[in-house]
Amino acid sequence: MDDDTGAPAPAGGASRKSERLLNLLIMLLVQRHYVSKERIRAILYPDSRPDAFEKMFERDKEELRSLGVPIEVGSIDPLFDDEPGYRISPDQFALPDVRLTADEAAVVGLATRVWEHARLADATTDAVRKLTAAGVEVDVSALDLVEPRLSADEPAFDVFWDATQARQEVEFDYQRPGFEKPSRRHLQPWGVVRHAGRWYVLGLDTDRNEERVFRLSRVVGEATRVGAPGAYEIPDGVDLRETTRRLAPTQVVVEATLLLRKGAGATLRRAASSVANDVPGPDSDSPWDRVVVRADRLADDLLALGPDVVVEAPEGLREELLARLRATVGAA
């Protein structure tokens, strides 16, 4: 916690700098017109030499901007536009008025617990503190709602999140499964989506000039932002929900009648709409039950149970299983 020169700050140095930053902010915020550099120097940097002033002033402006303070640059005299002036518009500076009802405020309070990603969890907390400072009373105790958790442990997540926001191209190495080597890719990211616990990025692949989706866990090494921020526009009509629908396999829910060996298929039994105990089965090694279940993509789960389950209906599922089993046995 010292000045950004890296040298230890003298005692009181940090707070003197804080005073200067805050006084600069107040000066630019309360003026109706652009304030000239000369005036800023005379009032806030009276003892500094010209080159030292330029350096300090540039850095101070940058620090305020990085906090989100909108410092505008304009011309003081429209006839002589060689001297720039500075101001902060109060409307651009301040959080717009947000009025939350008690239950909405409770929801917002819970939102601080959603991110399992340190930087975004902090950002959410900072956002809620600003709302609280504006007079919103956040109360997390009143609501019967449990928050979900968003984790983002893919190392490339931050780079793509920032690049999506800054509209900045990203260069990265991408490993598709089954390929020998990763390949270098370039993407103008449009948005980031999560599906089944994993994050994906959608954007324009500039090498192919086509829309593409990449899975962030397949990015190898460090992804880097290249090129200038604001280099492209996100096309109208980009629909991230539609992208997640494309990532999700289509659901094919069927109702199936199964013979299950006693004690087998606990997960299927929990989803069952009916169970008839002790019915005749394909072998007499154990008792069998008849179970009716509605589920998506049953074939894989049923094959995993091996000789402990037999499909009675529907015929299509039965045929699929038989074909896959015959192909396995025949392939020997």
Partner: protein
């Protein structure tokens, strides 16, 4: 700046950021105590008083005493002890131009909106409407953020039962209560009951696990949340000393178990295994398939995996049938085909 990302931290910058939240808070909460203020803004009483000391030196650029912000620092200091008066009331005046907090940064706006969208996805119907209202107001407030908010869609693949399970497990961790789990063990196709001392819920590769001391195994165990069929939080306190949940960033499995190195050959429909499970090596299969399909990565691949339980592997192979086979050891491939044969025979008997 050498790297993209956050600039180097600056004490002064952080202090200004704190003040831009502190002053509006004091403006909207007149007559508030020092300790309450510190809690509300996520600071300490000492830091709040230091920050107020800076504020005391700031004000309008006129240079007259009346231009300065007025802070009653005496009310916060204990003249006898030289310490702070936590119950002292903070009074700040002459700072009306800082009465509104700074607007949300793009990252703050995106982070909170995405969090609320995720809550919307799992909220029960009656509270979803509340989330929608809050979301609409915050989206309106964020609309003034330059560059807007990032396009981020958190998805809605957690159902509310899963969210509730996680909450009750975390509650048990916080209160140090034992949990009785009904857990599905896929390798044995079995539900088992066991009492555990929960240590925490952790996530790796998008999958959530409960880390706990298992009293049946008398060892620490990881339980996948999507395989916990029931979880009853008991009144009994945990018996083992609480420990932080383990760090899964280096992979899920310690190599201490007895494992067999198995080589599988996977056809493209079975290739998801490579990303879903920990594998040691992946090689394209040479000499078969057209060279062009190998180059595109659409041919078969060989993978090496360490397998601790043969029954688990057998179920995986059956699930993948007929798109996987065992290259080595050969006796495992024979076992797989025998299982397929026995399964097929079950259908012959009722024909």
């Amino acid at each position: 700046m050498a790297r993209a990302g956050r600039p180097a931290p600056s004490g002064a910058k952080d202090q200004v950021a704190r003040l831009l939240t502190l002053v509006p808070y004091l403006h909207s909460h007149p007559e508030v105590r020092l300790d309450q203020t510190a809690e509300a803004v996520g600071s300490t009483p000492e830091q709040v008083v230091k920050d107020l000391g800076v504020l005391f030196m700031c004000g309008l650029p006129g240079g007259y005493p009346d231009d300065l912000i007025d802070v009653d620092l005496d009310a916060l200091e204990d003249p006898e002890e030289g310490g702070l008066r936590l119950e002292g009331v903070i009074r700040v005046s002459n700072a009306d131009y800082l009465a509104r907090p700074l607007r949300l940064t793009p990252t703050e706006a995106s982070a909170i909106i995405v969090a609320l969208r995720a809550m919307r996805g799992t909220a029960p119907d009656d509270t979803r409407e509340v989330v929608d209202r809050a979301l609409a107001k915050l989206e309106a407030a964020a609309a003034s953020t330059p560059g807007g908010t990032a396009l981020v869609e958190p998805g809605a693949d957690d159902d509310s039962a899963a969210v509730r399970l996680r909450a009750s497990l975390e509650d048990a961790v916080a209160r140090q209560r034992q949990v009785r789990l009904t857990y599905y063990v896929p390798a044995r196709d079995e539900e088992s009951e066991r009492v555990v001392d929960p240590r925490g819920v952790i996530t790796a590769n998008g999958v959530a696990y409960l880390d706990a001391w298992c009293h049946s195994a008398e060892a620490p165990r990881l339980f996948r949340l999507d395989r916990i069929h029931e979880a009853a939080v008991l009144d009994s306190a945990v018996e083992t000393a609480p420990e932080p949940p383990r760090d899964l960033s280096d992979g899920l499995f310690q190599r201490s178990q007895e494992t067999t190195l198995v080589t599988l050959e996977l056809q493209p429909p079975a290739r998801w295994v490579i990303e879903y499970y920990q594998v040691e090596a992946v090689r394209p299969v040479r000499g078969r398939g057209r060279a062009s399909s190998r180059a595109r990565g659409s041919g078969p691949v060989q993978v090496d995996m360490l397998v601790a339980d043969h029954r688990w592997l057998l179920r995986l192979l059956m699930r993948l049938a007929p798109h996987a086979k065992v290259v080595s050891p050969p006796e495992l491939d024979q076992e797989f085909r025998d299982t397929a044969q026995r399964t097929l025979r079950q259908y012959a008997s009722d024909a």
